[in-house]
């Protein structure tokens, strides 16, 4: 792996997922919209990377690009995605499909709509298991029960024969997780897995993800806009803004010492976390639209400390502390640029 694009990786442990300079575009009648504008990140074995940012920042698209399920006309227009050292973004459709579910699992936001209402939970598990593993129907059925047991569903022998509508929302999300884990993927992309759930159940589901990550060593990309969930669950966090990562680093550092002005605003706007800060910050304005990106740093129109350079040049994501930040107003960025 190239050390330049994975600045905070210990060299021993090759990342399960590594994205380098990813660009995602939507060709439209009025020109091409670039929704992801150069995202780079890595996730190691047994690590949970939280991806946060406000609505439209490009979190889901990044996840969809990794699973290979960008909806047309969306397409990967640049960069590379590697899973366990293997480049996957340039694979032909057929080979990419073989990875889906097998190497990369996915968990979607709404457990109420993620399951086919006409098939039993067992049917859906068995078809998924048999699609990836050479097991007989009975062996697959046994494994289905084991999986339900593992994700904490009581009396799984009984539950496999039931239909999705017979499960509560939290239980359904557990089923969805079991389905994502059916073939023991190395990487799981979870797009807002708790957003549609009650607060009390959210903690159970994030706890389950954490346990799976520890026990199986699965790498998890946890997309959410809930900093609380991130604080509880993630090891590292990537903060996205307007299709780019503005800051990435260990979760404690990022929450205690946010560096990028946007991250500071984001952390400040969470009451429970802001208690440690003096005031409850609010970020004025809205994220720019894809077709009217400002020159320079995309955050500059809302930034209190932006100067002339912020309005003309795009800051790079550069190491700072234990993480990386893309901001001209940080000493290191200036130093690197001067060198």
């Amino acid at each position: 792996m190239n050390a330049a694009f994975a600045p905070n990786e210990p060299p021993l442990d090759p990342p399960v997922l590594s994205i380098r300079d990813l660009r995602v575009e939507f060709p439209t009648r009025r020109g091409v919209l670039t929704a992801i504008r150069g995202v780079s990140l890595t996730i190691r074995r047994g690590e949970i990377l939280g991806v946060v940012g406000e609505s439209g920042a490009g979190k889901s698209l990044t996840g969809a690009a990794v699973i290979g399920l960008l909806e047309p006309p969306g397409r990967i227009a640049g960069g590379e995605i590697h899973v366990s050292g293997k480049r996957i973004d340039s694979l032909p459709r057929r080979q990419l499909m073989a990875l889906r579910g097998k190497t990369i699992g996915a968990i979607f936001q709404d457990p109420l709509t993620s399951l086919n209402p006409l098939l039993t939970v067992g049917d859906q598990l068995v078809e998924t298991i048999r699609c990836h593993l050479p097991l007989s129907r009975t062996e697959a059925a046994r494994r289905a029960i084991d999986l339900l047991n593992e994700v904490g569903i009581p009396s799984p022998e009984l539950r496999v024969g039931q239909y999705p509508h017979q499960f509560s929302g939290g239980m359904r999300q557990r089923v969805v997780i079991a389905l994502a884990l059916a073939a023991e993927p190395e990487l799981v992309v979870a797009d807002e897995p708790t957003t549609a759930l009650d607060v009390s159940i959210q903690a159970q589901i994030t706890g389950l993800l954490k346990r799976i990550c520890r026990e199986r060593g699965t790498a998890i990309m946890l997309v959410t806009h809930d900093m609380g969930v991130i604080a509880e669950t993630a090891d590292r966090v990537a903060v996205m803004y307007a299709g780019r990562i503005v800051e990435i680093g260990p979760v404690e550092d990022l929450i205690k010492r946010p560096q990028h002005p946007y991250t500071r605003g984001l952390i400040g706007s969470i009451p429970s976390l802001a208690a440690r800060h003096e005031r409850l910050a609010q970020i004025d304005g809205a994220m720019p639209r894809l077709n009217s990106m400002p020159a320079g740093c995309a955050f500059n129109p809302r930034c209190e400390i932006a100067d002339a350079r912020c309005r003309s040049d795009l800051p790079k994501l550069l190491p700072s502390g234990r993480g990386s930040v893309a901001c001209w107003k940080l000493a290191l960025a200036e130093a690197v640029e001067a060198a």
Binding site: G101, A106, L115, L119, T128, C131, H165
Partner: protein, 330 residues
């Protein structure tokens, strides 16, 4: 589950009773049956005797009661026109209509569903585009126009297919079928095609529209994300979820066709119930009209009940809640 079935059948019986009442009103009050059945020279005694024989001196409630009893036994009285039992007239004509409608429905499903799926999965494929264009014509041109064109081309010009009638039929008890003789099958081709063209187009368009919608759902996306092959995603997940509207519409189409086969049967002089009804209307043959109304209603209600049961079989959610929306869901 059993409770739902019993309730469904109960509903069907209730609707049937209402229809029977309407048929009874037509039968009793659309003109005086005695007047219609006897000729002008009949004596007063003959009239009174017939009144008594028909039970017309009884209170209306009793008359309705005995009408229902007789209807359940298949007794709809005597045709005014040719003095034969109405039920045997209908029994004679029903197989022709049934065969015509069933053959075109089977064609419609066998061709319409795969075409619809194909068009939904490959929206840009030129063959799918052509199929969609033809289906546009199929749903907009009336069956009798297609029938007349077919007759002009294949009977008048080419002389390949018979222009009218059912060909030779084989009799099984009261049932007659044209499917077992070459001439019967030949005679079936054009009427069935002219009916099926609409059905095929309709089913294809319905399946395409439903599939496109289901393919956008989260559970289809999730099935893809789990790495299931297209074959399973399309047929096991997507198509199955489209089947409800298709089943409903097929049930309604069959009912419509049996009820309104009048036109096609008239064009092809097909000896079915539709033709019988057209003749009955021309002669104000009230017993035949009343019986026709009853039979068509029975068919409609039976189809609806079958559709409801298919719903229950396919959708587990309905089985549990017991609020089967039935054919009116959409």
């Amino acid at each position: 589950m059993l409770a739902i079935i019993v309730k469904r059948i109960g509903n069907a019986a209730l609707v049937m009773l209402v229809v029977a009442f309407i048929a009874f009103m037509i039968f009793q009050f659309l003109g005086d049956p005695v007047q219609l059945m006897l000729n002008a020279q009949a004596s007063q005694e003959e009239r009174v005797a017939l009144r008594l024989r028909l039970g017309l001196d009884q209170p209306v409630v009793m008359q309705f009661f005995s009408f229902v009893i007789r209807a359940v036994q298949g007794d709809f009285g005597i045709s005014f026109r040719n003095q034969r039992e109405v039920m045997s007239l209908i029994a004679e004509r029903f197989p022709a209509t049934f065969e015509l409608v069933m053959v075109s429905t089977v064609l419609a499903l066998a061709i319409g569903v795969p075409l619809g799926v194909f068009a939904a999965i490959n929206p840009k494929n030129p063959a799918a585009r052509i199929a969609r264009m033809i289906s546009m014509v199929g749903v907009s041109v009336p069956a009798f126009v297609i029938g007349i064109v077919l007759i002009l081309v294949f009977s008048v010009q080419l002389g390949w297919l018979p222009a009218f009638g059912r060909g030779e039929v084989v009799q099984f008890g009261t049932w007659s079928t044209g499917l077992l003789t070459p001439s019967g099958r030949l005679a079936l081709i054009m009427p069935a095609t002219s009916l099926a063209l609409f059905q095929i187009s309709f089913i294809m368009r319905l399946v395409t529209a439903e599939m496109l919608e289901v393919l956008r759902t989260d559970y289809v996306k999730f099935a893809r994300a789990r790495g299931l092959p297209d074959r399973i995603v399309h047929f096991r997940h997507a198509l199955r979820n489209c089947m409800m509207p298709v089943v409903t519409m097929t049930g309604m189409l069959i009912g419509d066709l049996i009820a309104f086969a009048l036109v096609t049967e008239t064009v092809f002089q097909w000896p079915g119930m539709g033709l019988l009804f057209v003749q009955a209307v021309m002669f104000i043959d009230i017993p035949v009209m009343a019986a026709y109304l009853m039979i068509v209603s029975v068919i409609f209600i039976t189809l609806n009940t079958i559709v409801d049961f298919i719903y229950l079989a396919v959708d587990p959610r309905l089985r549990q809640t017991g609020t089967a929306g039935g054919a009116n869901v959409r």
